[in-house]
């Protein structure tokens, strides 16, 4: 098995979790209700924990240590999709992003538990229980707010329209994916996308929200090969602000 293929998969998984965890943590202290403030902080912790676990696997494969990987790379070295980089916006956008992202993530984790690469399968088995709660939270809030007032329905619909092209970008293929699929390590992105669409449609059908027409939407790709939105560089600068004062010391 080409080690580069495994590494590329791990970077993609880890970077997505890190950047979304960072974004979700921005809600700490300013959520629309205390309960949501706490929920987003809690999910942020889980995401950061997941990214750490994936970076630790990379470290075992000879890459730098997790802090260096998270705090010292340039945007072009990041493999995350652009969806996770976007600012938190208002609560409707953050909720919809969380809904779209975690439905995909839950599918990924199910496959990862079966991965023909044991260290990864182990980590995924340990962590997938947390995803269940993220999904439960996303579905509960989307169903409630997606059926409540005209105001909440409009807001969620607008955010869904805005986020959807970026969400399709989560399924950007990689040069290694055929190899990973044939080795039984991870399925093709197109396969995950098909399942994802089915799952989110089931939830959205219970709301007054409409999924944008797939044919008319242009997916925002690029992130997986290091092409990012204008928002990633400032995010990484902020994340490394203190760490960079002295990267060779312990904090």
């Amino acid at each position: 098995m080409n080690e580069q293929a495994i590494k590329e998969l791990l970077y993609t998984l880890a970077d997505n979790q890190l950047v979304l965890g960072h974004r979700n943590s921005e809600w700490t202290g300013i959520g629309p209700i205390l309960e949501e403030d706490i929920a987003f902080s809690s999910m942020a912790q889980d995401k950061l924990g997941h990214s750490l676990a994936f970076y630790a696997l990379l470290y075992e494969l000879g890459e730098s240590d997790p802090d260096t990987l998270a705090f010292m790379r340039n945007p072009s070295q990041f493999h995350c999709c652009q969806l996770v980089e976007l600012p938190i916006g208002e609560y409707d956008f953050s909720l919809i992003r969380h809904f779209l992202y975690d439905h995909a993530e839950a599918i990924r984790f199910e496959y990862l538990t079966q991965a023909g690469y044991e260290p990864l399968a182990k980590v995924a088995t340990k962590l997938r229980g947390e995803l269940k709660y993220h999904l439960l939270h996303a579905n509960t809030m989307v169903k409630q707010l997606g059926n409540a007032t005209a105001e909440s329905i409009n807001r969620l619909q607008q955010s869904l329209n805005d986020a959807f092209p970026y969400a399709l970008g989560m399924f950007e293929s990689s040069p290694y994916e055929a190899e990973l699929a044939s080795a039984g390590i991870f399925p093709l992105e197109s396969q995950i996308q098909t399942q994802w669409l089915e799952n989110i449609r089931k939830v959205l059908a219970q709301t007054q929200l409409q999924l944008p027409d797939l044919e008319s939407v242009m997916p925002v790709f690029g992130g997986r090969r290091g092409v990012h939105s204008e928002y990633l560089q400032p995010l990484l600068d902020e994340m490394a602000e203190v760490y960079n004062l002295d990267p060779n010391t312990e904090w």
Binding site: T28, L34, E151, S152
Partner: protein, 327 residues
Amino acid sequence: MYGGGSLFEAVKLDELQHEDPMKLAEFEARIQRGEKIEPDDWMPELYRKQVIRMIEQHAHSEIIGALPEGTWITRAPGFRRKMALLAKVQDEVGHAQLLYSAAETLGKTREQMMLDLISGKSKYSNVFNYPTPTWADSTVISWLIDAGAIVNQMANARGSYGPYCRALERICAEESFHLKYGHDAVVYLATGSHKQRQMIQEALNRWWPPIMTFFGPADKISAHTEILMRWKVKMATNDECRQQFLDMYVPKVWEIGLTLPDPNLRKNEEGVWEYTEPDWEEFKQVINGNGPCNKERLAVRRQAEEKGAWVRRALLKPETTYVKPLA
């Protein structure tokens, strides 16, 4: 965090004239026997008012206190600190949730308390009106402000209002982890590179004067609160708490090679800590809205409330009726 130094006004005892003397005597006897007062028990209006005020101030301190530290979550250096600080600040918001529920058992809604906070009518711990310009400032809060809060909350957990005591027990259990985190983060700076040592010393110098005011004005100039002590609303005087805090933490600060910016700070032969009297005039000014960050803190809170209003409107169904939380 973050409760502590609750501000009590001089109690107007004539408010008690309207109370049934028999019931009042029985109420006081129950407290004397160490019984807890529960939400549906009889209580004098003055007690209700003062307990709401105290718990509300504490709850506000938790969510406002989340701001000066929370701003460092996205900048925390390394995974270990980032995850720990995020978990800690989340705990503080959780404490606010617990405390608002405890206050709600006495009949004031969370929404009303929030409104009183952002209008400036209700107070919160004064220390959060000071800035946290560096990472080191956030570690000083995590260690020493949380330490002060524990001193205060351990005392209050023995108070008379049942729901508040139960909330405090849970809060104190989490606080002890915060204290460990804060101490660890400070020790790393204090024993680190030249730049780190300088950072932490400067932060400590900035924070020491506010920390000295954390427990509220000196007893000799405080409002008279005897009846609140008798009712076990206030469990220790401001100076008692301050002494206990100094006794526990000044040696720990010195132990890691840091200094405190008060040349008069020492323990005398009687075992009492002597110190330069804090600037109580500044304290009053800051309480009244003129501190370095009062406006910013309330503006952030107000903006969060305004931006989140549509969520609360949407979640509140027409058939929903208000139910007091169980405590």
